[in-house]
């Protein structure tokens, strides 16, 4: 731009406005363009095109179906010929001999399994028959090392997968599978299995009203006590352990936050410009805060778990150290914004320094500090879950264990629900407390 046009632009308001609009328009275009470029870079850096091939659909199906339903296995051991009925195939969910559910009937070597009113699967010795409505009778039988499959039309339809050593028949009512070692039938039910009582408990299969008001079921114990003991000690869902884990997580958050606040309060005074006249101390304390925050909970957790081992104490101390930095910074900023007139007023009555703090400063900052403490308590409930997953304590540990075993997704969903409820509860309580304390009623 030459001097002439520059002076023209400076004097002519129209030209100036147009230049301004042009600049605005360039910025308005440049920002989305920069974001787009960055996202394109990420698209390739994170290998998004390859994501589709890595996506494991079967895992997704297991997860979703396990979350809302469970299956009961009817298994025939092909070596011994024994037939067993077990919920989710687990030891604790195995029905005792002769106590099978009413949809399984046994008569010598023949076991009839009713998957749905019109679906009937039969174990007859080593042979499996499944009468599929609208298709016909499917028979499968062991023939040496292979399995012989017989269908009404002689072909293998979509819902059957058959290879030499394995046959799977999947319908909406259930699944039948044959391998060399065992023949199995799965029937699916909605809900979470044995959530209240396992099969070993005498209270299994009784309604709540029956337990509360009905006759005594277990002669040794009163119904309510016995039901509570069996529910609390449920060996599959381990309610007592889960409750402990939740308590541990909340404990880590509470102790860590409160401990950090207690440590940070005196340090906050030492870092506030209007309370600590010595620059060197102020500078040193502030660097301590920066260091504690910068090291971050992850590194603190690793360092501390070397000394204290896994558990809630390690998590507590990690939160305490990180948040001492956060609180120190927040507190010293609050203290620097304190209204000096109130302190002057207290001083004018002849108060000594300590009294000036007590009556001039503390009442001013208490609501602000409390609200900061409660806010961090909320966020630390989440952090404690995560730290628990790293250091081995609380509900975070249970969750990671359940996910790593990749088996009991209903437990994973249970833990997730509990975590979300816990977090929302803590948020609500702390919000309520904050209102109560700050409004002062």
């Amino acid at each position: 731009m030459t001097d002439a046009t520059a002076s023209l632009a400076a004097t002519d308001p129209r030209a100036r406005a147009e230049a301004g609009i042009r600049r605005q328009r360039r910025i308005a275009l440049a920002i989305p363009a920069a974001i787009l470029l960055y996202l394109i870079y990420i698209f390739f850096a994170f290998d998004l095109p390859g994501l589709a091939s890595r996506l494991r659909v079967d895992n997704m199906v297991t997860l979703v179906s396990d979350t809302w339903s469970y299956k009961t296995h009817v298994t025939r051991d092909n070596r011994s010929g024994d037939v067993e009925v077990a919920i989710e195939g687990e030891r604790q969910g195995t029905y005792a001999e002769g106590a099978a559910p009413d949809w399984v009937t046994r008569d010598g070597d023949v076991t009839e399994i009713r998957l749905a009113p019109d679906h009937l699967a039969v174990f007859d010795g080593g042979q499996v028959r499944y009468d599929v409505p609208g298709y016909g009778l499917v028979t499968a039988e062991h023939d040496g090392r292979d399995i012989a499959l017989d269908t009404p039309d002689g072909t293998v339809p979509d819902f059957i997968s058959a290879s030499g050593a394995r046959v799977d028949i999947t319908t909406h009512a259930g699944r039948v599978s044959l391998t060399r070692n065992r023949n199995e039938v799965f029937r699916y039910f909605a809900g979470w299995e044995l959530f209240f009582f396992t099969l070993s408990s005498p209270y299994h299969g009784h309604a709540a009203g029956e337990i509360l008001f009905g006759d005594r079921i277990d002669p040794d114990r009163s119904n309510i006590v016995g039901a509570w003991q069996d529910f609390w000690g449920n060996p599959m869902w381990r309610h007592a352990d889960v409750a402990w884990a939740l308590g541990e997580t909340i404990l880590m958050a509470f102790l860590g936050t409160m401990g950090a606040a207690l440590v940070a309060l005196p340090l906050g005074f030492a870092a506030a410009r209007n309370f600590a006249p010595v620059l060197a101390i102020r500078f040193a304390v502030r660097r301590v805060f920066d260091f504690a925050r910068g090291v971050d909970a992850l590194i603190w957790t690793i360092l501390l778990s070397r000394a204290f081992g896994p558990g809630p104490l390690t998590g507590t101390l990690a939160i305490l150290l990180t948040d001492t930095g956060t609180f120190g910074k927040l507190f010293s900023e609050t203290l620097e914004n304190v209204d000096t007139r109130q302190i002057e007023g207290v001083r004018s009555t002849g108060a000594k320094p300590l009294q000036r703090y007590r009556f001039g400063v503390i009442p001013q900052i208490t609501p602000v500090l409390l609200s900061q403490v409660l806010y961090l308590l909320e966020s630390n409930t989440r952090s404690a879950t995560i730290i628990g997953a790293i250091t081995g304590g609380g509900i975070g540990l249970l969750l990671t264990q359940a996910i790593i075993t990749q088996k009991d997704w209903e437990e994973v969903s249970y833990y997730i629900v509990l975590i979300v409820v816990m977090v929302i509860l803590m948020d609500t309580v702390s919000g309520w407390l904050r209102n109560k304390l700050i409004r002062g009623d």
Binding site: L39, L298, G311, P312, L313, T316, G393, I419
Partner: protein, 291 residues
């Protein structure tokens, strides 16, 4: 006149004793509250101590052992450190990228959610409670939960962490953005409405320019938090520097120089982005001249 004064004195005496009683009651309450608090802290600490693998008293003398080992080994192999820094730089960039993308995507989603759940601006005013609940739930689910499930579904990689952090960010920023948007001046919106602008145009031209500096400031603060979250999620299997740290730690003795290099990188990155974002936020709040 005389008895009136007497009554006044009486009343003053009454209010004085009432005031003192109030003060005493408050002091009693505060004292009780203090006792409850101390009891909670002490018993809580004892429970945590009992349930921990190693006790507090036993562990305290060992607290410096591990850092001392790491520092001494790193010191002996100080010549290798620059090489380690270079080797872990790609992982560090991945961690920062995870945080950046998650913040970007989360913030964009948060703007939409916030505008949809702000009184006076919402496209469908009746759906405001719905969008607010959605944000509450997004905020409540810890990112590690979503990340672990997504790792199971898509395998180890940065995407699970990005999605997990972005969901949490959208919920957390959405709430803050909505509070900012509530204070926006509605006159530009009315002006745009009167010339027939659609909802999207009203928001883009009328509301966003007003609240952009505040949004940017909150988003930067969130970016700091997300870098930390991204490192932690890496530790549980989402890639980046956290994953390298886990490997280095697991290998133990002999690899401490690598651990030290990662510690230093992570610390420096967190401090760097904290300073950068606080400088940027300061500039946003106090105008261009201040820095």
């Amino acid at each position: 006149m005389a008895d009136l004064t007497a009554r006044d004195i009486d009343r003053a005496g009454d209010s004085r004793s009432a005031y003192l009683a109030l003060v005493r009651r408050r002091q009693t309450y505060s004292f009780l509250l203090l006792i409850v608090f101390v009891a909670l802290m002490v018993s809580g600490f004892r429970i945590a101590n009992d349930r921990n693998a190693g006790g507090f008293v036993d562990g305290l003398p060992q607290i410096l052992d591990f850092p001392a080992d790491v520092v001494s080994e790193a010191w002996r192999n100080a010549a290798e450190l620059p090489g380690h820094f270079l080797a872990f730089l790609p992982a560090l960039i991945e961690t920062v990228n995870i945080a950046a993308v998650a913040t970007l995507v989360g913030a964009i989603a948060a703007i939409v959610l916030a505008l949809l759940s702000t009184r006076g601006l919402a496209r469908w005013p009746r759906a405001i409670p719905l969008f607010r609940r959605i944000m509450d739930i997004m905020r409540a689910i810890p990112d590690i939960v979503i990340a672990l499930i997504l790792i199971f579904l898509m395998g180890v990689g940065p995407m699970p962490a990005v999605i997990a952090i972005a969901i949490h960010t959208a919920g957390a920023l959405g709430k803050l953005f909505s509070e900012v948007a509530e204070n926006a001046d509605l006159k530009p919106v009315e002006g745009l409405q009167s010339v027939g602008a659609r909802w999207l145009q009203q928001m883009y031209l009328g509301v966003l320019p007003q609240i952009a500096p505040n949004l940017l400031s909150y988003a930067l603060l969130r970016f700091e938090i997300n870098i930390r979250a991204s490192a932690i999620l890496g530790f549980v299997g989402a890639g980046g520097i956290g994953y390298e740290l886990k490997n280095a730690i697991t290998w133990g003795q002999g690899q401490f120089a690598e651990s030290a290099a990662i510690f230093i990188l992570l610390f420096a990155t967190i401090v760097f982005f904290d300073q950068l974002s606080s400088a940027a936020r300061h500039r946003l709040a106090h105008g261009k001249g201040a820095l």
